[in-house]
């Protein structure tokens, strides 16, 4: 993975997740951050911090990104969510607009 194709998502605890830009763009919020012409720091450095999202949830979110890309390419599987994560996951998903 080249540097230019990736973004880094940083959770509340500081854990960093490096994923493809294409996967991150599934989230409308991240897409706006990275593509808007405002000269945002996120766009420049390719890093986005989420001080309110924990690592577990952020990990699940990244899994969802890749699952979503797979789904739209035709491979339709099921995305399993552990019940204990759902509430926080829902709120994070709402924030990320995904």
């Amino acid at each position: 993975m080249k540097k230019e194709d990736t973004v880094k998502l940083i959770s509340a605890e500081g854990m960093e997740f490096v994923i493809d830009k294409e996967a991150a763009m599934v989230s409308q919020t991240i897409r706006n951050m990275l593509t808007s012409p405002g000269g945002f720091a996120e766009a420049e450095h390719g890093e986005v911090t989420f001080p309110e999202i924990s690592a577990v949830i952020l990990e699940k979110i990244c899994q969802y990104f890749y699952w979503s890309l797979q789904y739209s390419r035709g491979k339709e599987t099921e995305f399993h969510i552990e019940p204990e994560l759902t509430l926080e996951l829902m709120m994070a998903a709402n924030y990320l607009h995904t």
């Binding site: 979110i61 969802y64 699952w67 979503s68 789904y71 739209s72 035709g74 339709e76 995305f79 969510i81 019940p83 994560l85 759902t86 509430l87 996951l89 829902m90 709120m91 998903a93 709402n94 990320l96 995904t98």
Partner: protein
Amino acid sequence: MPVLRSRDIPPAPPKPPKSRSNVDPPATPTQGREQPLPAARLSSPHSLPPYPKTAGSVSGSAPSSLRRSLRLSSKGSSNAGDQVGLPEVEKCIESRNGDVSKKQKLSVDVDGGFESGGSRVLSLRSGEKVIKGSPLGDGDDGGGGGCDEVVESNKKGKSIVESEYIEKSKRNNEKESVDRKRRFSREEKGKGKLVVESDLESKHENLVGGSVPDVELPAEEVKSPDEQPSKRSNGRTNGGRMERFRDTARRNASRFAYFNAQEEEEEEDNNNLSMEAEREIPSVEEQIEEKVVEDWPGPFSTAMKIIRDRAANLNVRQGSSSSGQAPSVQIKWVPQKGKGKDGSKRLPPSLLDLSLRVLVDNADAIVSLDHVPDAMRHKLCRMLCDRRQMNTNLLDLLLSGSPTEIRLKECSWLTEDKFTECFEKCDTSNLTVLQLDYCGQCLADYNIPSTLARSPTSLLALTTLSLTGAYRLSDAGLSVLVSSAPALRSVNLSQCSYLTHGAIEILASSLASVLLELFIDDCQSIDAMLMLPSLKKLEHLEVLSVAGLESVTDKFIKEFISARGAGIKELILSGCGKLTDSSLKIIAETCSILRALDIGNIPKLTDNSFGYLASGCRSLESLKLCRNAFSDDAIAAFLEMSGEILKELALNNVGKVGHNTALSLARRSKNLVSLDLSWCRNLTDEAMGLIVDSCLSLRVLKLFGCTQITDVFLYGHSNANVEIIGLKLSPLLVHIKGPVESPLQYSSVSSLI
């Protein structure tokens, strides 16, 4: 010998010459030509009452004169007096203008020739105006075969008619052929044969207003083949004759449009097909080929004309010669396979939906809803209520802390005890939105003081209150509630059948200056007229819903709208069956900032309503119809005028919706987001495809009951964003998304503080 239009041709015309000589008006300098009567006179299969007075004209023209006299007398012509029939007509006209006599003579002659053309005779009966043709110099082709002069028996505009008549006849002298051909055209909203019509249109251009058809036979011959089939199709019954009368009337109507400057005749009832009904659209100047009886402001009538001409022109191009068949506007749309939306490809569900589903499945395991934003809470509650899995535990969770918004779309599971238990200990001081729909079982007068209205300040922050279905709530209970909630902006008391007009008085007394929205659907004990004084006191009312209240009448609307209409933004009147077009007129004139209107299930509304709406409510974004009797043309014309800003349109079960509407939608509705065409069975796959591919903002299309739509449309349209609901057997609730729930629909709460 002209080919007669009528099928009925008696063997021998009864002494035509006699009639002619008899009808010679004294002052009429004849043009030296007598209209030769056709050899075969249209025998009237219809018996004519004997006309005792016209001794002279008894013979050949007796029938025609008889008929004419009947018509004239029915018109109540002042000149009718004793004389009936042709002489009378001449008199009338003569009295107007000396010149006319000349024409009269011609007409008289023509009348003589009327017998030949059954249609002419018949048209007399129908009260259509007899345009005095100018057979001057026309080839004597054997009697006025095609004289389509119909004396208009327009009671209202008799004088105008007469003067027009005169002028027309003057003008007609040069344009006989054109006139004649025009006469033969049958155009009725695209019906009939317009092939000939198109030829004539070019000739018509130099004609301003109408032109009197002349009696030239050649033209008639040209026409007659066209005419005959249609004539034949009309049948010989009286009904068929009426049909022809109307058609002729419609044809001739345009001739009189020229005289709008002198007087404008307007008729209220568009559907009045009585024979003496010939009115003119004020603004129309060019030829109109159909009967125009609508009372519309200028732009709308022009739009209507455009719609109708569009259909007419298309028919002409197609060369359709249908008889009695309503030709449909052709829609060209080719499904683009492989482009755009691929039927099998689906978007991945959003993480939000996925997690919400899992959450709802495991709702019992939810421990706390702290920090969950209100929007999430509402989504959760909505799904739980839909699945009927809502319970008191969750309600406790919702009410814990100091909630700001509570929305329960369905509280029928909640018992009175549990309700009291939960709300007794709830801190409602920060509550801004409280929605307890279908709370009849749990809410009564006696438990309000202990739960919701514990103190006069318990609901200080409440702006939106919805207690639908509270059938045990009386005026007194409402009074207690309202006294604790002085800041209410939106109140929904639908289906609270115990409330009377006293409830509105209570609202008006304490909330007169703040209440913005009031919903009292189906509150059957509230009498509209009794609540009117209180209703008028609500100074800033923006939204009013009185759906289903039978006591809502035109009078109510008139008085209320006159008082408060200027500030109304949304009006829901569905099911108020007593309303008529006059209410719409007032609404259109007064409610200039109206944004949403629901007039479903009001059967008495006619196309005139659309005329008013198009000219009046320029900000209309949402229009909902259901089971209305509007015509395709009216809706299409309305869309042409106001379709640009429309965002939501429901044409549920408006059966006449057809291709004109589809075309107008495709051309105008660029901002349309939601469209409901359920039960509109006249729309084909092509029409749907055109709509969907052209309305690029469209997101939701409802097609319940449209069994005529096939996969050709479903998989052939290229709009990837639209969601089509109602065609396949899929769970309904999947598609029904909740409305965007904000506390107030047209204002933001902060703006009120």
